[in-house]
Amino acid sequence: MGSITLKQVTKSFDDVNVIKPLDLDIRDGEFIVFVGPSGCGKSTLLRMIAGLEDTTSGTIEIDGKEATSVPPAKRGLAMVFQSYALYPHMSVRNNIAFPLKQAKVAPAVIKEKIEKAATMLNLTDYLDRKPGQLSGGQRQRVAIGRAIVRQPSAFLFDEPLLNLDASLRVNMRLEISQLHKSLDTTMIYVTHDQVEAMTMADRIAVFNGGIIEQVGTPLELYRKPVNRFVAGFIGSPKMNFIDVAPKPGDATHSLGVRPEHFKITTEQGLWQGQVGVVEHLGSETFLHVHVDHIGTLTVKADGDCQAVYGDQINLTAEQAKIMHFDKQGMTIPALSWGGESAA
């Protein structure tokens, strides 16, 4: 219970096409992440699935049933908003109870469900507080609690961790992932943070300019991006792109090398450059290397890398892991990483 199918869905505001015709199958029980830069239409699509935005054309099916014009409450979905959207004048208990009260659930059942959700989310001690008296993480959990008690067929998350500080974000990421494992319900999660996408998703849909560039598991996207955009968006730090002069018989227009696939050599390499800023993270080191005619390359090295500002170094890359892109920015699979096994 919780498969969602989008068929040729579009959305336009006046003359602007925010979502271009788009197909997507969301399987029952999966954790799918919509990721993309801001303004790419990912939040709009989520709101369309929730029923908060009208669909301009195309159909949305939930559990095989046409739901394109079904009002939000009848879709059986629950949403967690970026601002949490808790009701400020109600206690935590009443916030969580609100959807159940609206559905005219018996008070005894409501009480039981609240207790259960509160235990699950560590909110038992805070049930009588108002949202204003809670920390960001606790508010987030109340918002999730309000979603859980309705037993929706799918959860929708709209950048839920945006307003939390970095360490709390890591914790909540883990908690949401665990929640998904224990509830085994479909979750659609919107974020612009590729780290959240990579760590939480079963599958990721990469959005760009109102279309889905690629859908796949995190490792598929990392290893076999279909184009330069996906290659650059997935992975941190970003992939390096190196333009090359086209050769006859070779469509390669640019190369893509992930920072972690560079090797630093003292003798000759493919590229030679001067070390710029060095970032020591302890476990690893990021070098920003200036290479003539190419620009700055980001290189990931070991934590005990000794290079300092101004050093001349040589770089090579594992040939097998270099991506090749053609003039349109599309990956040339035969020449790129994973191409051999695919061939």
Partner: protein, 290 residues
């Protein structure tokens, strides 16, 4: 304003204006208090003897006082009821994205800029007049006997006029409050299965509680002293049917030339206003906290 020096400086700088304002308030209050204990009638020049609480006794035991006291409460309560209910409704309508919204908002606000005497005259002569008024024409068109509003429903007529003046104020304050409501809360309520009524009562109305409190407190202060509308339309009549405390004090001191009695009435009005204020703050003041 952090250091001792800047705080001291601030006190010195504030002193002249604060003392001026204080004198402005204290001197008339003390004079009124002083007059209220004197036998002071402009028609009977004399010693202006000290007569103790006789003015108060006279004022408070006057049957007109009781009637005008309840008239005052009815006037304030009625106008508050109409402006708040109408104001919430107007605010919700004005919040919708309608064509020419900015002009509509300006038009709605217009009655607030019309002087009380003018608006009362307009209502009296153009709407409520039993012969020439619009309502009378409308009644005749329906074949009903026109109502002589100021003779038959004097207090209600004044409540309607004053409400018309104060509705824009309430609507404006409530509109700004509605605009600050987080849209995601309404969307969350949509997903939670709340209908329009649930959303209004559980989300919009609680959000408006602070603004409603502010409107009640501000309007009460002004509505306790409604005067021009009564003077221009009914002159407090028929009998005392549309006389409020403010108007009663006016008749006492300026129509009967009884400065002492009028002053005693003024002091009584101040006390009543304070009782109302304390009562209101106890009742709804907690909404303004945080």
């Amino acid at each position: 304003m952090a250091t001792t020096q800047s705080r001291t400086l601030a006190k010195i700088m504030l002193f002249p204006s604060v003392s001026l304002l204080l004198a402005w308030m204290i001197v008339p209050l003390c004079m009124t208090l002083y007059f209220s204990f004197l036998d002071y009638n402009l028609l009977m020049p004399g010693d202006n003897e000290f007569i103790g609480f006789l003015n108060y006794e006279f004022f408070l035991t006057d049957p007109a006082f009781v009637e005008s006291f309840f008239n005052t409460l009815l006037l304030v309560g009625g106008v508050l009821l109409i402006t708040l209910c109408g104001g919430v409704g107007l605010a919700i309508l004005l919040d919708e994205a309608i064509w020419g919204r900015n002009y509509v908002r300006m038009m709605v606000l217009a009655p607030f800029f019309v002087m009380p005497t003018v608006s009362a005259l307009v209502w009296k002569n153009m709407f409520m007049n039993p012969v020439n008024g619009l309502f009378a024409h409308f009644a005749q068109w329906l074949g009903v006997t026109p109502v002589d509003f100021f003779a038959e429903l004097p207090l209600l007529s004044i409540i309607v006029i004053v409400s018309w003046q104060w509705l824009p104020f309430a609507a404006l304050i409530l509109l700004t409050a509605i605009q600050s409501l987080d849209r995601e809360q309404l969307e969350a309520a949509d997903l939670d299965g709340a209908g329009p009524f649930s959303k209004f009562f559980y989300i919009v109305l609680p959000h408006l509680s602070r603004a409603v409190t502010a409107v009640i407190l501000i309007e009460t202060i002004f509505l306790l002293s409604v005067f021009a509308e009564i003077l221009v339309t009914t002159s407090g009549g028929p009998g005392y049917a549309s006389t409020n405390i403010t108007y009663l004090i006016y008749t006492q001191s300026l129509l009967q030339f009884d400065v002492g009695g009028g002053s005693a009435g003024g002091i009584v009005a101040v006390i009543i206003a304070n009782i109302v204020a304390i009562f209101l703050m106890r009742l709804i003041g907690k909404n303004l906290e945080n």
